[in-house]
Amino acid sequence: MREDSPSSADRAAEARPEIVWERVDRRVRRALVWSLPLILLFALAILPYMASAYTVTLTFLVFFWVATAQSWNLFSGYTGYVNFGYVGLIGVGAYTTAILIGKFGAHWLLAVGAAGAVTAAFGFLIGIPFLRAHGIYFAIAMLGLAEGLRVLFSMDLMAPLTGGGAGIGFISGMSLAAKYYAMGLVALLSTAVVFLVANSRFGLQLLTIREDELAAQVMGINTTSKKLMAFTLCAFLTGLAGGLYAAYVNYLVPATMFVTAYYTLIPIVMATFGGLGTTMGPVVGAVLFTIISEAIWARFVFLHLVIFGAVLIIIILFMPQGIIPWLQDRRILPRTRWL
Amino acid sequence: MTQANHVLLRVGTIVAGYGLKEVLHGVSLHLRSREIVAVIGPNGAGKSTVLKTVMGYLKPRSGEILFDNRDITGREPHELVWLGISFVSQGRVIFPDMTVQEHLDMGAWTLPARKRAEAYEKVYNLFPRLAERKGQKAGTMSGGERQMLSLARALVIEPRLLILDEPSLGLSPKFVDQVFEKIVEINQLGVSVLMVEQNAARALQSSHRGYVLELGENRFEGPSHALLADEQVRRLYLGGRRGLAPEGCLSP
């Protein structure tokens, strides 16, 4: 549990203004705050024309992890309900795109949009019963759901659409640059949504649920509908990311699409490392971990996941609030709602 | 063991709370050997928090707790049992799936094996109804029976100090009487008792001295009969009831 609520944190920051960041000259700070994001955006925008296909693909993957870490954060980071079946939502999004393009010849734009909508609808429908289960029961139920979807998608019943266990292949018709920009937009959208939620009444209500759901109910918050809204929103963004990811993979097999130890673990670690319930935490986590991952992946295939596991444990035990609030507590970063 | 006037427990200005919320702002009390001390006060006064802090379930932020002149501040609850302190928590939720005998086995945790049989014998003599139901599971017993079982469990070690948190909560009037009679009976066997009670009048009637807490601070203290007779205490904490004659009180 985070001991400092945002309001008390703000007050603490006012009382002791010796934050490292604030020692920097005011004009320099303002210039940095405006120019850095713009430079970054510009660099990312021209990347496909400047860099190698490898770099573009890697950045595409960073976008994918930003989008998924943000989406996971949006629901689980804010409500405290651990979504262990996250890969199920990615899978539904990915399959929607694959089926629409592969079986019905839809344009990728339509297919990816539909992936968001279908996954949102799916999230809404399963959210109604699933969110009745609390705490650990929700976590276990979601784990069961993801594995159940894997089996369901390989069954004969679904084979006309999903291709069963043999999988479904398709040609997305997207160039690498198109995939890159589209995923970049989804990452940006996810971050924007989390930012808006973080700074709204809705976000505060979600945090109240995380701290004490019973108290939230007593305060008159309809916790069920708030959780459902957050879950549906999370599903929508995940669906978009999953749909575009399908266009990158081009070939979906249930056995390799629904891998909990990968597609659920990684967004969780990234979001938790950056800071659950923060706006920029998942972004920091995703960028950092993709780089670490890429650096050690080639030489130590198994070690790279060991490190993910170890980081998760260290964070939970020693800085459960994540890196951004940790830096804020140490007065290195300012307490601003932009983070 | 110890002489009659010896101070067994001394709680010195403890400050304690949960999370950011401070509940006790410096509560002090003491208890002499063979005394029954009642702590009363309105809801939210921090009565139960005092007991939780004494028992070590909650660590005080400041202040000290001495038992038999030994500093026990911040000790773990299970360590206190070895010193001869027994605690009966509020609400009588004990071990629903364990039998009466198993409760006593657990109560005898700190006793050496050779002393247990004798200890069980004594407790069953004190609570004959439990002796008849050694094999019954606690979950199937009535509220009053469970309260007796809780007391029995706490008495197996023949404690020097028995701490009771709301012993009459939720019991029918018939059982309330029984419980308080039992407490006095236990006290007469030589056990000092510290209890927190919602039923202030009844608690003062069955105790030697009393403390009144309000909003986490000491408000009144003194011999129980004096508190019962005090106009202000009666108005504020005893529902203004008259006729609660101090005659029924235990002599200090």
Binding site: S52, A53, Y54, E147, V151, S154, G164, G165, A166, G167, G169, I171, S172, S175, L176, V249, N250, Y251, V253, A255, T256 | -
Partner: protein, 315 residues
């Protein structure tokens, strides 16, 4: 990837399937060396990647012939894991059984999370199957063999992919492995003519000899596949150099799609460019192997056999 002229493909069906589209988009000539699925080629109109290895349906086809001609089995039970490669193997078994008129007593796939095969093996027995074929990966080969032994199932022939060809199989199962048939794509002992490169012929035995000198052990099939694909690509590059005096992607690609011949790995030949399944392997053969006295023997096709097939399992 932007400045390469040709590629060896990654290991495994799913990885290859995933990179196939990238290869097609970038236009890099590729010989996919270890991939048994048809998915990257079937109906895909591939223009850059050819299949150097063989296809899943070919894996156990030979065992159907063996079961009919030597074991005189009247029917077959096909039992396979529900993932791309085993599905392909089962497709081959099914097609060959129909073609040869072998009755299909059971045709069932199982989920990859299955841990106990005995209900399915018992079902095959209750349906009177004499020839049990299929499988998935290593755990399935061991699991199915164990389950069959555990219920005392007597079969005329038991043929399983891929695990049954693994040397561990005989170590883990001991006597039970005796007589179990499997499929192998390449063995050090198989004779090939090999390529003529710059006047010298490098045949399979030459490859095996040099490998042994270098690494002090027998090469595994993936080493041979890699080497064979290397031979093929080297030839393609030579061809391009001969014609255009430079390494030209289009010329290299044309060679990969048009060449039909042999490398140390065995036959190579793919569906020609422009046809629906372009790039798909059509010539590479599989051998039926069988564990006999702790040794892996080739028992089918007859002309390559190193030993007579044993009929009846368990021994």
């Amino acid at each position: 990837m932007d400045r390469v002229d040709f590629l060896f493909s990654p290991y495994g069906s799913e990885l290859t399937a995933a990179v196939a589209s990238v290869i097609e988009e970038l236009g890099v000539p590729t010989a996919a060396s270890i991939v048994a699925t048809l998915a990257p080629w079937k109906g895909k109109n591939a223009k850059w990647m050819t299949q150097f290895s063989s296809t899943a349906p070919l894996y156990l086809m030979g065992s159907v012939d063996l079961a009919i001609e030597r074991a005189e089995a009247k029917n077959i039970a096909i039992l396979y894991e529900d993932t791309p490669f085993p599905i392909g193997v089962a497709d081959g078994l099914r097609a060959r059984a129909k073609e040869r008129g072998l009755k299909i007593a059971m045709d069932e796939k199982y989920d990859k999370a299955l841990t106990d095969w005995s209900p399915l093996v018992s079902k095959a027995r209750s349906l009177g199957a004499e020839f049990l074929a299929g499988g998935g990966y290593y755990p399935a080969a061991v699991g199915i063999t164990r389950a069959a032994a555990g219920i005392g199932y007597r079969l005329k022939l038991l043929a399983l992919v891929v695990g049954a060809a693994d040397p561990k199989f005989v170590k883990d199962l001991g006597i039970l492995a005796e007589g179990v048939a499997g499929s192998d794509i390449w063995l050090p002992s198989v004779k090939t003519r090999g390529f003529v490169v710059e006047g010298a012929t490098i045949a399979n035995e030459d490859f095996v000899r040099s490998y042994k000198e270098e690494f002090k052990r027998d090469p595994e099939y993936w080493s041979a596949a890699g080497y064979g694909a290397g031979q093929l690509l080297a030839q393609a590059v030579n061809d391009s150099l001969k014609r255009a005096r430079k390494v030209d992607r289009n010329l290299t690609r044309d060679f990969l799609f048009n060449f039909s011949g042999e490398t140390i790995y065995g036959d190579y030949g793919v569906v020609k460019l422009g046809q629906p399944d372009a790039g798909m392997q059509v010539r590479k053969q599989h051998f039926v192997i069988q564990w006999q006295k702790g040794k892996k023997e080739v028992v089918w096709p007859r002309e390559l056999a190193s030993a007579e097939p044993w009929i009846g399992w368990p021994r």
